[in-house]
């Protein structure tokens, strides 16, 4: 979809949809929001809806950052300690490579 052709109200509504959608445990929507609307929010010359788009993009960015932190922390802990957790580690795992503890 080419944002150039859209009127500003529709851009705002799209941004808002992606922002609200990310709350449903969908951080990739926030990622898309940030990447897609970055130019609109910060680079383009000001237009009426820009302040709101800017808010949405900033908040999406914040949410994205939280998710990245949480996921990175958990993945690191899991990869490092799963072998030591014994039974619990096995029950948490979907697939364990053969031949590794």
């Amino acid at each position: 979809m080419n944002l150039e052709r859209l009127p500003n109200e529709e851009k705002l509504s799209l941004c808002r949809k992606y922002y609200l959608g990310g709350f449903a445990l969908l951080p990739f929507l926030w990622l898309v929001n940030v990447v897609w609307f970055f130019k609109e929010a910060f680079v383009k010359p000001p237009f009426t809806e820009q302040t709101q788009i800017k808010t949405y993009v900033k908040r999406s960015g914040l949410g994205l950052f939280c998710w990245v932190t949480i996921l990175t922390t958990w993945i690191t802990i899991y990869q490092h300690f799963r072998a030591q957790w014994g039974e619990v580690g096995d029950y948490l795992s979907f697939t364990i490579p053969l031949g590794t503890p």
């Binding site: 014994g86 096995d90 029950y91 697939t95 503890p101």
Partner: protein
């Protein structure tokens, strides 16, 4: 070979003296010994590379050697001495190294050093010599099965853990160590010469200068699926999340073969007459899987028991004995008494045709192949002998055996000191209840076998030799007595062909099948039954009753004038029952009471050598190797396993 003859005579005399004294009012002391033969044979010669030590897991420790999924590659290095290890572990420029060594260097100190430096070691290949090392070699523990026998803190604590006498002083415990790299064995033949030549041509430092690329490298594949211990891998076998149906490890197991001298009623559990159990062992092992010669540790006793069963066949059929002999062959005794613990468990749970109540006494034949100065030793358990009635029975047993041996050229003695029973199946029976029992061995305080549970426990270790310059026919004639001939032939057959390693349950080992059919043939009788009926375990078409005998169809030999074999049916009392540790029935994989050994599954076992042009290419050698030769490939390499306990 005369030892078997002697033991056969021993039993025969025993029965002759006692069984036929019948019709008085005193009860006959029946034949109440069990021959426990430990049958082990070695089969080193026919396999090129016995493959690496498999991974065996245990709940306490685990024995493993494994490679990565894509195989381990290392630059070849021929280890010349223990000091030469320095090159591999510290000074060499092209780690990781694939170390090739002669078996003289395959010692605990060398292997431990390699284990500690395993970041620079890609794998080990041991060249197996054709002659046994004269100083002995045993990768088993110094005190075999010390935690699964009868002696513990509550039963004879001063006798536990080999405090009084060390049974296997040459044991270096290598079989129970964990290694992070594959260990293969190579036969000393042309392929091995090629490997050594490759090293000499490309890898050897000349005049102090470092070897340059291209270097000779070897890649060994032996990826094992299971890790950590039995509890973990059994849990992962049945983990609900994974979709893959393949299991990663399987318990060790096989079958116990047993045969009462007279038929029992096998459908009725718990037989109330008196039985005397005679036991033997069917299995052995070595450091390398797929090699399990065990001539002295298993074959010697097993053959003796078979010979005895055959010799006593007629006597036990005709004589009216108040007790029957119950010949038993246990499998898996090497791995914490898998077979005997299972049988005792079945007896306790009334799942077996006879109960522990019915067992009057036990005689076991242990390692009997290495007679020295014609002495046979009778080992008994001092703790159970503190009980008056048990002591009486044991004394009777011992004196009977001594009397029976009087006419023969062998002396039967008890070791004069208070010492525990050696590792034997009788110990598991004593755990259940104090039976009077005797274990016959050829040693008094430590094994005469210098190659206990190793790949060298073969015909040479038994010193089975003929005078030189005899043709095979003459060699057979050299052994004149027919019983001796038969026993000798069986021993020869087993020692050179059979691998006594127990392996997993779904794979029946050769000794089990052999013993089952041999025992049937030697103790049973020909039956006039058609082949179809025979194979369906019935006497004829109308026979619907449940049987206490078993039938087996023998293919037979072809008569002189035709090529078709003339088969016949043998009716005997031989049965096989599952020898799987009770821990797997109870699903208690951390059990301290029962054996918990399992074997890992693997993908492929193979190896190859090639020239590698630079270090980066070592990683992706399959595409860039300039010359590669496949040495070991799948179907012939069966010996790899990872054993977990």
């Amino acid at each position: 070979m005369h030892f078997q003859n002697i033991l056969v005579h021993l039993q025969f005399h025993f029965i002759g003296n006692y069984a036929l004294k019948q019709p008085s009012n005193e009860p006959i002391s029946p034949v109440h010994f069990i021959y426990i033969a430990h049958l082990t044979t070695e089969n080193v010669s026919n396999v090129l590379y016995i493959a690496k030590k498999k991974t065996i897991k245990d709940s306490e420790d685990h024995t493993t050697t494994l490679s990565s999924l894509s195989g381990d590659v290392g630059v070849l290095h021929l280890l010349e001495s223990e000091e030469n290890l320095d090159w591999v572990l510290r000074t060499g420029l092209h780690p990781p190294y694939m170390v090739i060594m002669e078996s003289a260097l395959f010692t605990r100190s060398v292997m431990m050093k390699l284990k500690n430096g395993s970041s620079r070691v890609a794998g080990v290949a041991v060249v197996v010599p054709s002659a046994n090392p004269p100083q002995g070699f045993s990768p088993h523990n110094k005190c075999p099965n010390e935690n699964s026998g009868v002696y513990s803190e509550s039963y004879g604590p001063t006798l536990a853990h080999c405090n009084t006498t060390v049974w296997n002083p040459l044991g270096n415990g290598l079989s129970y160590e964990e290694f992070d790299f594959p260990i293969f064995s190579l036969k000393d033949d042309n392929d091995t010469q090629l490997i050594k030549q490759c090293y000499v041509d490309h890898n050897r430092p000349v005049n102090g200068s470092d070897p340059q690329y291209p270097l000779c490298a070897m890649q060994l594949f032996s990826h094992m699926s299971a890790v950590t211990n039995t509890a973990t891998c059994m849990r992962r076998n049945t983990n609900g999340f994974t979709f893959s149906p393949e299991s990663i490890c399987e318990p060790l197991g096989d079958h116990n073969i047993w045969a009462p001298a007279k038929p029992l009623n096998t459908t009725q559990k718990g037989h109330k007459a008196g039985e005397s159990m005679v036991m033997a062992t069917l299995d052995s092992r070595s450091f390398f899987s797929e090699i399990g010669p065990g001539a002295e540790s298993a074959a010697s006793g097993l053959i003796t028991l078979l010979a005895a069963a055959h010799a006593l066949r007629n006597a036990t059929q005709e004589a009216q004995l108040s007790r029957t002999i119950f010949y038993t062959f246990f499998h898996g005794e090497t791995f914490d008494y898998i077979g005997s613990s299972r049988m005792v468990y079945d007896m306790e749970k009334n799942q077996f045709p006879i109960d522990l109540d019915n067992v009057h006494s036990v005689l076991e034949i242990g390692q009997v192949g290495l007679f020295s100065s014609s002495k046979v030793w009778l080992h008994t358990d001092p703790v159970s002998r503190r009980n008056g009635s048990v002591e009486e029975e044991v004394k009777k047993l011992v004196s009977n055996l001594q009397t029976a041996a009087k006419g023969l050229n062998v002396s039967v003695e008890e070791p004069g000191v208070t010492q525990p029973l050696p590792p034997s199946s009788l110990q598991r029976f004593l755990r259940a209840r104090p039976f009077p029992g005797v274990v016959i061995q050829d040693y008094s305080s430590s094994f005469a076998n210098m190659y206990y549970q190793s790949m060298f426990d073969n015909a040479d270790s038994l010193k089975m030799s003929y005078p030189p310059n005899l043709t095979p026919e003459e060699q057979l004639n050299y052994v004149t007595d027919t019983a001796k001939v038969r026993a000798y032939m069986m021993l020869r057959l087993l020692v050179n062909t059979a691998n006594f390693y127990i392996s997993v349950e779904r794979q029946t080992s050769l000794p089990t099948v052999l013993v089952q059919h041999l025992l049937a043939n030697l103790t049973g009788s020909t039956a006039n039954v058609t082949q179809e009926d025979c194979k369906n375990q019935r006497e004829n078409q109308d026979d619907k009753e449940s049987k206490h005998v078993s039938y087996s169809w023998v293919q037979g030999a072809a008569p002189p004038n035709s090529t078709e074999r003339k088969g016949f049916c043998v009716r005997s009392t031989v049965h096989g029952t599952k020898a799987l540790s009770p821990a797997f029935e109870l699903e208690d994989y951390n059990s301290k009471d029962y054996s918990t050994w399992t074997e890992s599954n693997w993908k492929q076992i193979k190896g190859r050598i090639f020239l590698v042009a630079s270090h980066d290419l070592e990683v992706n050698q399959s595409a860039k190797a300039t010359h590669s030769r496949v040495l070991l490939n799948g179907p012939r390499c069966q010996g790899l396993y990872r054993l977990l306990t």
